[in-house]
Amino acid sequence: MKRKTKYVNYTKWGYIFLIPFFITYIVFSLIPLISTIYNSFFENYMSGLTQIGPKFIGFDNYSSIFFKSELPVYLKNTFVIWMMGFIPQIIFSLLLAAWFTDLKLKLKCTGFFKTVFYMPNIIMASAFSMLFFTMFSDAGPVNNLLNSMGLPTYRFLAEVAGTRGLIAFMNYLMWFGNTTIILMAAIMGIDTSLFEAAQIDGANSWQTYKKITMPLIKPILAYVLITSLIGGIQMFDVPQILTNGNGNPNRTSMTAIMYLNKHLYSKNYGMAGALSVILFIVTCILSFFVFRYITKDRFAEKVMKRKRGDSCEN
């Protein structure tokens, strides 16, 4: 009797299941990326109703966006507003994460607080910003409230500090809950025997926090910092709606992506391309660190294995 053995090669299924992702990615992300880079080398804009270009001009768009446009100012704005939101975000997240995970403190209703703190994150940023615009406008509820309490009113959207402060405050509200939950997971991942040992040695909670928790969550803090910075570069919805796209007062709250949006709207494709490429490169550099962080454990494992192998050979 002849037995028919049928070997099925499953390798091809790996490729087949990857097809939808890669085709979609190539068509809707990779080709646009290449076309963006390509366009950044062409003079191509609308002057009134006449189309100028496209004409190849090498790196001229880059030099004019760096030296003749206000991009450096807008990048600075973006960075300043991001910092104003990030500093309170990280401080409160560290504090809240420490409290929520503190076994001695045993806080109640943590589920409720976590739900409330994360909620602003799922809100439509543009609607949230519109809400703040109406609330903090000159005759809005907040100024009404200040007025009725006998306090002086404040023209939030006419002052640099007021406008930037509001944007930063919204960013803070939208992201501190997310950061708190990530840091909590990190703290809960720490080996509990370390905390027990510290307790036996008589360390108080501040000492434990400083000597055990902080050093061990440092990599995650770096991860939070960099992902937040990448998000900060993309800051758009909130300032766009709050200032109606003009970054007032005096364009001090104009962010880099708002500037890009302006060029895309006015069909100034050369400049938009150069600006996109610059932002792309900056994000790539930052992403590299995130990539390293995500894949680090795997690399570490490999290094360990190799080292062990070496010692065996010796």
Partner: protein, 286 residues
């Protein structure tokens, strides 16, 4: 000894009290704007102009009626459009990301390592930096004012993929797939009938996340949609912002914001537990 213990207890209690005060203050900061929003949807325009109030009015239905009858803002179409686009992209992103994760997790092939590394590398690239090429492509394909460029690209969602891969590594042993193969199941059937049910919890969380992301998306849709019957809610909000604000009925303004925000909030409140759990799974290793 006894006094020391007493002292410690006192310290702990005061620390706890302080913690609760801070937590309550932050909660108020989070909820205050939503409270004002909800209150103001129930107040009429003259009431809102008159001043601040913590108590609701009686004009909720009136505001809603006026907003839906507003000819300048196609709110109802906006809601339907937003809902359609978000549902489609949520389903596509979740299903195909699970499929991509399945391919990387279960099969062994030559380029697997590179494919995985590639997806992780492009994960953080924001859609804004490729927007120029994207708009040009959409224009060349004649798809301006169509929902295709807002839904189909979600098939390739690196972040959703990463989450699925993380989850799959912890719940799907390869033996299970092999057992199904011995039973003669086809690879597609294994994925659809065995893997997907196991992935249900992760799928549910990701459907919500991708739905919310798409529902809130403003940058790309604003560049692609300019016909009033195609606009989604964020575009209508931007339109309202750029309109002559002083002439507007404030009751309607608050009502539109509420319509944009509340559906997501309601779903969130029902599922917050699994959502909060989901954040940690997707963002941090281990």
């Amino acid at each position: 000894m006894k006094t020391r213990k007493k002292h410690e207890k006192l310290m702990l209690n005061s620390q706890r009290g302080f913690a609760y005060i801070v937590l309550v203050i932050i909660s108020i900061l989070c909820l205050f704007s939503f409270y004002i929003l909800i209150i103001n949807t129930t107040r009429s325009h003259p009431d809102i102009q008159k001043g601040f109030s913590l108590l609701p009015g009686k004009s909720f239905m009136n505001n809603l009626k006026n907003l839906l009858a507003n000819k300048q803002l196609p709110v109802l179409t906006g809601l339907v459009n937003s809902f359609f686009v978000s549902t489609c992209s949520a389903l596509l992103a979740t299903y195909f990301s699970a499929m991509t994760a399945f391919a990387i997790h279960i099969y062994d092939f030559k380029f697997k390592k590179y494919a995985f590394a590639f997806i992780l590398m492009v994960m953080m690239i924001p859609s804004q930096v490729t927007a120029l090429g994207f708009i040009k492509l959409v224009r060349d394909m004649n798809l301006m004012n169509s929902f295709i460029p807002l839904t189909i690209p979600s098939i390739a969602a690196p972040i959703v993929f990463f989450f699925m891969k993380q989850y799959m590594s912890s719940v799907l042993p390869i033996d299970m797939v092999e057992a199904a193969r011995i039973d003669g199941a086809h690879e597609f059937r294994i994925f659809n009938q065995i893997v997907l049910p196991i992935m249900k919890p992760a799928m549910a969380v990701q459907i919500i996340f991708t739905f919310v992301a798409s529902w809130n998306n403003y940058f790309i849709p604003a560049l692609l949609l300019n016909k009033s019957n195609k606009k989604t809610l964020p575009i209508l909000i931007a339109q309202l912002r750029s309109a002559d604000f002083l002439k507007f009925d404030m009751g309607q303004v608050y009502m539109l914001i509420a319509l944009a925000v509340l559906p997501v909030v309601i779903v969130y409140l029902f599922l917050s537990k699994s959502i909060v759990r989901g954040i940690t799974l997707g963002s941090v290793k281990g």
